[in-house]
């Protein structure tokens, strides 16, 4: 096999900007943050989030969905169905044994966990649901997709915290490159907007405290950024070997030409101050793609809006990128969806390549003077994007970087 590239033939997105790829793309192009007060967090010091609007499980998933699916699974199913249909594939006729599923998920069914734990404490063991375990374990995102899509090949969940979605796509590419699968439905899903999780992130100082102006709180690369806004959602991509996709006449949206991973081995939550781990992952992805940082036209940054991440990431990108490269962080609009972020942003990077348009970074009003990058702000920018990079860095120092090329 000479061409080891992997084609992206389908996209599915469920985000705070709406249900579906079109709604999400239009939302990120508008550049208005979805940050808002969230009823699920009422009474907590940080009570804002970027929530997915309008998901009705009985209508969008299955009439019994609320009984068996935690929200992170519901989001995954909706996104995956869209991606498979978008790829022009029909699970009723495909050779399911050759179809794999790889889903990134950092937390799993934390809302279910909290609800049932409360029942245990308040009403005793008899009140705990028999469905607790199958609803909360994170591997159910992939397990339910297998059942929903009749995908009978390798089926797994990757957990590298906020890099999980990127790790899933890199893992999926390997399953195609080594011939294990012909099709992989890969992405990420997360629904971590729960009182305990948000409180945990708040207690460690990771979240923005700008609760009085929730739509201005997520502001990647801005001088006044003070933390991330938690989001929820799912991004799913259908991947195939490029030659196979072309042979069946599928539309190749973009090609995944490189994926790199690394560990900081530095600190539980803080990035390596020199960004050495992030740089290693970027260099690995670029090396696999056979290109240099100077060739990259555009980067969808991890860009969480935390003081530390954005500073370190910007410094590394400043050393790596050439003139003319643009950078954006779609977390300004969508918040930080943790284990789903890498996949949602990969899908948006594919759209940048396909549509020659870079979405703006929401709330970037006064760029941090230490960030010496062309960060797109205010309005979308028309740009021919032939090579683009998508960064994801997780707590624990786990890094995943993807490089996409035009078909």
């Amino acid at each position: 096999m000479t061409d080891r590239s992997v084609a992206v033939t389908g996209l599915g997105l469920v985000t705070a900007a709406g249900l579906g790829t079109d709604a999400t793309w239009e939302g990120v192009l508008r550049g208005e943050s979805a940050g808002a007060r969230d009823d699920r967090l009422a009474g907590l010091p940080v009570d804002i989030a970027c929530a997915v609007p309008g998901l009705v499980p009985a209508r969008h998933v299955d009439r019994r969905s609320v009984l068996i699916h935690d929200r992170f699974v519901q989001l995954a199913i909706v996104a995956a169905r869209e991606a498979v249909a978008d790829a022009g594939l029909d699970p009723r006729t495909w050779d399911g044994a050759r179809v794999g599923v790889v889903v990134g998920c950092g937390l799993g069914g934390v809302s279910t966990w909290e609800t049932q734990h409360r029942r245990l404490l308040e009403r005793g063991p008899e009140a705990v649901s028999a469905l607790l375990v199958p609803m909360l374990v994170p591997n159910m995102a992939a397990g339910h997709l297998a059942m929903d899509l009749r995908a009978l090949g390798p089926n797994l969940v990757t957990a590298t915290a906020c890099a999980s979605g990127g790790t899933a796509l890199g893992t999926a590419a390997r399953l195609l490159q080594d011939g294990t699968c012909d099709i992989v439905v890969a992405g990420g899903s997360e629904a971590g907007v729960s009182p305990l999780m948000v409180t945990g992130f708040a207690q460690m100082g990771a979240l923005s405290r700008r609760t009085e102006e929730p739509a201005a709180a997520s502001r990647p690369f801005d001088a006044d950024r003070d933390g991330f806004v938690i989001g929820e959602g799912s991004g799913m991509l259908v991947l195939e070997r490029t030659a196979d996709a072309e042979a069946r006449g599928a539309t190749v949206r973009a090609r995944l030409v490189g994926h790199g991973a690394s560990a900081d081995a530095h600190h539980v939550t803080a990035p390596d101050p020199e960004g050495a781990g992030a740089l290693r992952a970027m260099e690995a992805a670029l090396g696999q793609a056979g290109v240099s940082g100077r060739d990259i036209d555009h980067v969808n940054a991890h860009g969480t809006s935390t003081p530390l991440n954005d500073a370190v990431e910007a410094a590394v990108l400043g050393r790596l990128l050439g003139d003319g490269a643009t950078v954006t962080s779609t977390k300004g609009v969508l918040g930080h969806t943790l284990g789903a972020a890498g996949a949602i942003e990969a899908a948006l990077t594919v759209l940048c390549v396909e549509r020659s348009t870079v979405p703006p970074t929401a709330n970037l009003r006064r760029q941090d003077p230490a960030v010496e990058l062309d960060v797109v702000a205010g309005a979308p920018r028309e740009q021919k994007v032939e090579l683009a990079m998508s960064n994801s860095f997780g707590f624990g120092g786990q890094n995943a970087v993807l490089v996409f090329a035009s078909p």
Binding site: A58, R63, R64, V66, L67, R123, E126, A127, S129, A130, L131, P134
Partner: protein
């Protein structure tokens, strides 16, 4: 029909998204697409709703609604002391 039956029908409709029109005393849980995991959950809910003690293997998917009603009625009819 007994009160137990009516309350059980409400539980199935409200808690398990079963179609009310499909429920009859002689229909089985299997026919209502209630698999073994759902049935274990239903027995837990029944115990909590009716205040009775039923073992988690007292009903299987091939049992009927009438069987479940009898389980509850036998328990509630038992002497309290």
């Amino acid at each position: 029909m007994s009160t137990t039956y009516d309350r059980l029908v409400d539980l199935l409709v409200d808690g398990f998204a079963v179609d009310r029109a499909a429920i009859r005393p002689d229909v089985t849980f299997e026919e209502l697409e209630m698999d073994s995991l759902f049935l274990v959950e239903l027995l837990l809910v029944i115990q909590s709703e009716f205040g009775v003690k039923i073992s988690d293997d007292a009903a299987v998917p091939t049992d009927t609604i009438a069987h479940a009603v009898a389980l509850v009625d036998n328990e509630t009819a038992a002497p309290a002391s």
